[in-house]
Amino acid sequence: MDTSKIQIVHYGHRKCRFSESVDFRVNGKTITTPTFAPRIKNDNELDIYLDVKTSSGAKNLSAYVVRLFDTKRTIQYRLKKSEQRNLIGETLDPKFSNSLKEDIILIDPALEYLYYYPMMNRLRHSSSMPRLIRKYAEQVIEGVESLQKINEEKKHNNQKTDSITAFRDAQHTNFWSCIYKDANSRIKLIRDTCTSELQFHSDILIPPVPLITNPHLLKVTFDMNEKFRALSSDKGECADYFILKQQILKNESVMDSIKAYVADSESALTIFKLKYADLTNPDYALERNAVKKLFEELFLLSQHTDNKAFALFEAGYQTFPAALCSFALVSTAYNLDRGDRRATQGQPISEYANWYDPESMTLRNHDVLSVTTKNNNGILPCYCPECTKKPSLLRENPIEYNKRVKRHFLFSREYEMQSVIDAIERQNVSMGFDKLQRSDLRILTGLLPR
């Protein structure tokens, strides 16, 4: 038995209806599921995570996700520092060194950004990204710039302009078709991604797969998952990875193929990412139904297969329902994968981050939080260690406020995960259902199998 391989230990008393809490072991690290894994994008966020972890010993906060293009400003420097010792042989960064031994690190190649334009510049300049990706990003940026110039000229001459979105779509599909056909590029992409992930101490190797926008890209995803496993399984545990666009959730044949693939796959961990999927919108009933069926199928699979676990990245509002549906790892960014401070309709960008309201399970902006606190006799409506120790959150300057909001977010999520485990142990997962029903996310109760 290889210790680097994933082992999932089931316990009879830690199971209730569609929810289960298991022991998840990999690389000598053991976590109790469900575990919340924040997506960390810079050194500051990593510091907050390590602080919360060491100060509270939060055991349901034992993993984090870093996107490959964020590694340079997140863990690259910390890894170097953690290897250095002082004169008496102590490490210079004990918090991070301990975290390396205890926490599961997941390096996400995040290649869905090959489809979305805003991150292209970062992909182009990130040294940890595979060379092929950097080259692609450069080509797309140049292509879009020249298209914009042409469009400006056409506008000037009152001619019909070319669509930048169509250009981007075509480039994206073309790139992945080339990868699918050309063995050389495919191997290069797999090798470079795997090396980068290993270099940044990823405990589970995640394959570079495209955002599935059409059935052809699903085929490419299957191929990349299989080839990645064939090439990298000797280097570590390889997961299967599916990045789904919200619109594709409605495509039943795609969803059925994914379920069939997951059932037959050798991988112990399958990761799903529902990109920009806000299932709280009442119009997305079909998508919600598709996700519910997926959750049901995955739960059955985890029960009937010896060694299978699932993770959900960029879960956003779906974090709590996913944790309740036996997902071992649930990950989301501090802003629930939303540009929470993005300017709305011409208003300037707020310098205050949004505060996670554990009661409504949604984000509250600074103004709303001020009013709520005022109506609550000046007390923050939260009982987490961060909010109870220092209740003066609203008087903090924006930098300190944002830090504390993030700490509060981690405490709240940790508490939610613990409450799921408690509910399972008391054989009463309907407590989770009720919690969701009381919140602003009551529409997501439709995701839970009954």
């Binding site: 290069k188 090798r191 570590g236």
Partner: protein
């Protein structure tokens, strides 16, 4: 008889696209997984048929696996049948000793010839990927005798002075 193979095997085009060292590692791991999937043993010709790899390449890797004790072979008529070396008797029958990037793994194994202690020398590279460098098999009944021999040798080595330098 058709041998069991892993679900995904790289195409010859993909294998050609690998760097030479990667190619060697990939083929060795592929052969190892075929041995793992076929407990009743496999012959060179069967692996060649299942993988389309060159016969000489397959033989070279099988012989290497035998040399580092990851596999063993039995001569049968004109050919030889290769087996993966033993089954772990119990998951707890395992001990790791680390010296820097070198790991010595002690495992208690069982195969048709009896129970053995398998000592494997492994090495970790800069990416923390472990590779097997060598190994020895000792019959469990011979273990005490082997240790006595080792202790005798330590005394001899200490008298020579060489061992003192490394801190025995």
């Amino acid at each position: 008889m058709k041998v069991n193979t892993p679900t995904t095997i790289l195409s010859s085009e993909e294998i050609t696209a690998l760097k030479p060292a990667e190619r060697e590692t990939y083929i060795r791991n592929l052969i190892k997984s075929i041995l793992r999937l076929n407990e009743t043993g496999v012959m060179v010709s069967e692996i060649v048929e299942a993988t389309n790899l060159n016969r000489i390449t397959v033989t070279k890797h099988l012989e290497y696996l035998v040399a580092i004790r990851e596999a063993y072979k039995k001569d049968r008529g004109i050919g030889a049948v290769y087996y993966l070396n033993g089954r772990l008797v119990h998951p707890t029958d395992r001990l790791n000793i680390n010296f820097g990037n070198k790991i010595y793994e002690f495992v208690k194994l069982e195969n048709p010839e009896g129970e053995f202690v398998f000592i494997q020398e492994k090495e970790q590279d800069w990416l923390r990927v472990t590779t097997v460098k060598g190994g020895i098999m000792l019959r469990c009944s011979d273990l005490r005798e082997f240790l006595k021999g080792l202790q005798k040798f330590m005394v001899v080595a200490e008298q020579c002075g060489g061992a003192k330098k490394v801190g025995y």
